[in-house]
Symmetry: C2
């Protein structure tokens, strides 16, 4: 299929890098200042060299990627919260043109779910958003496969950076601030990590799962009870560990309630992933728990999930 990729961070760039390998063609690629277009496929290698050298991607206006010739719009701009813009308008324009949309940006499905579904119903295009839960974790696809009405609850440690920080705090007995500074020095954590540590990243993922699971009601950020991990101390983790427990920033969905916060988890449990792995568990109506773990962050990892979503779309 022909892909137009909007957003040239780690995820968008990795999609451009991998698309050929998945038998797709990138016909447009835009960041916030310019776009490069080619109906036969852009020269991905040359463009990525430009991108790394911080040169403009191309000579066209960024918005030309929206009106380009493509089958699937890949929306990989950064999450902005608030009114889900500009991602929402990108989704709208693609669906109004009867094109498919694959999202890694969490805004539209977390904050304006029903509006997106409404636009999708009027369109010959479909929306897929497996990559919004992060990296390779196949949470959305599994929820579709099991069947929403047969899932009774979901628990997940869905924030890879929080898992990384908590596993370091446990291993070294250090406080949050100390480990965070170290992670920033290593380039693992963003310079403004509050989005993750305060639980907002987990809350956005929880909202997407809740909106999909309980589609007849719409959840927004005010419906999520959120506690972050920035107040945790190394000694709290030490105390937990003495009894075989550890702490993870958990997303919990059950009986129409959505919560995010630090929880005690068995130290060797599946739901206490270390490093930047994330994990999720679905409790099913008939068949017990089904659990997954994988790399929950990273440009390449998230790009492979985007391309897996592209492969699930019907031909245009």
């Amino acid at each position: 299929m022909k892909l137009s990729v909007i957003g040239a961070g780690d995820v968008g760039t990795a999609v451009v890098e991998l698309a050929n390998d998945y038998d797709h063609t990138v016909t447009a690629f835009a960041d916030s200042t310019s776009a490069v277009l080619s109906d036969d496929g852009i020269d991905s290698e040359a463009i990525i060299v430009k991108k790394r050298a911080k040169e403009p991607l191309g000579k066209s206006d960024p918005s030309s990627a929206l009106s380009a010739d493509y089958d699937v719009l890949i929306e990989a701009t950064p999450t902005t919260l608030d009114d889900a813009e500009p991602a929402f308008s990108h989704v709208q324009e693609a669906l109004e043109r009867d094109r498919h949309v694959v999202l890694s940006n969490k805004d539209p499905m977390a904050l304006r779910y029903q509006e997106v579904r409404g636009l999708e119903q009027e369109s010959a295009g479909s929306v897929r958003f497996g990559a919004t839960i992060g990296g390779t974790l196949p949470a959305i696809g599994t929820l579709e496969d099991i069947g929403k009405s047969h899932v009774t609850s979901i628990n997940g440690a869905l924030d890879g950076m929080a898992n990384f920080i908590l596993s370091r705090m446990t291993a070294e007995g250090l406080d949050y601030d100390h480990v965070l500074a170290e992670a920033q020095d290593l380039g693992v954590a963003e310079s403004d990590p509050s989005f993750k540590a305060e639980g907002t990243d987990s809350a956005m993922k929880a909202l997407i799962l809740a909106n999909l699971l309980w589609e007849d009601q719409e959840y927004t950020l005010v419906d999520v009870t959120v506690d972050g991990i920035s107040d945790l101390t190394g000694s709290q983790l030490d105390l937990a560990r003495e009894d075989g427990w550890t702490i993870r920033l958990m997303v919990e969905l059950s009986e129409s309630s959505v919560r995010v916060g630090p929880r005690l988890i068995r130290e060797h449990s599946f739901l206490a992933p270390s490093g930047s792995f994330t994990a999720i568990e679905f409790e099913t109506e008939h068949a017990g728990p089904i659990s997954f773990t994988g790399r929950g962050t990273g440009g390449i990892e998230t790009a492979t999930m985007i391309l897996s979503d592209v492969n699930k779309l019907p031909p245009n």
Copy 2:
């Protein structure tokens, strides 16, 4: 969709029990001696009472379930090995009638994979076999989603009974024979467990995965190196445990080779599930490992996977 269910063991019976709950209608249900048919849907509750009382399911010949009015044939007869019969002929008849087939019987895709794919190509019907790997473990669906060409190796502890026996041996320091006798007393293990303990069950699952992963060559039982677990002693497990290891009966696929045998696995590793849980890990080309665990045996569990496969089929 209209389902014809062939095989009235735990799996087939559970499909009949759950079908309505998944918005499907069972129009035929057969065991080896009789069949019950109804174009409007059989009376599932009444039939299951009959089944439990060991009365005949109905007055029709078992083969009438194959010529009945249905969209999807559910093939849930027991695995027989050898020439994959009668399951192969059931698949053939359904595909020749342009009907879909969903399998829990492992024979056709393990032993006659290319023949089934050939029949499928000539048919308007499709074959799905997610339930052949056992219970809720979404191994086949995930392999499809990641894309076969992007999976570099697969490791799994896919035999729930072997995992159950090995976790009991570890917990109690007992030998294989002792734990097996206990499991048989409890009704957890079959009276003839050699199919599983000798690794044949794992080998069949490995063959299905290999045939799907490397579709240009055909694998049969002679291509699989198989060692079972019946010679393991409690003291071997004790020795392993002293260093933080345990033993599981593993399926290993990599670089076109297929092996089954007892392997040392880190004690708290994801790949050392306990009880009757099974686990699988896919190593991917670009995105590291993706791992799953769930209940890998059981009638209800396998039936939910069958019904999830039915939901993936296009309308007839």
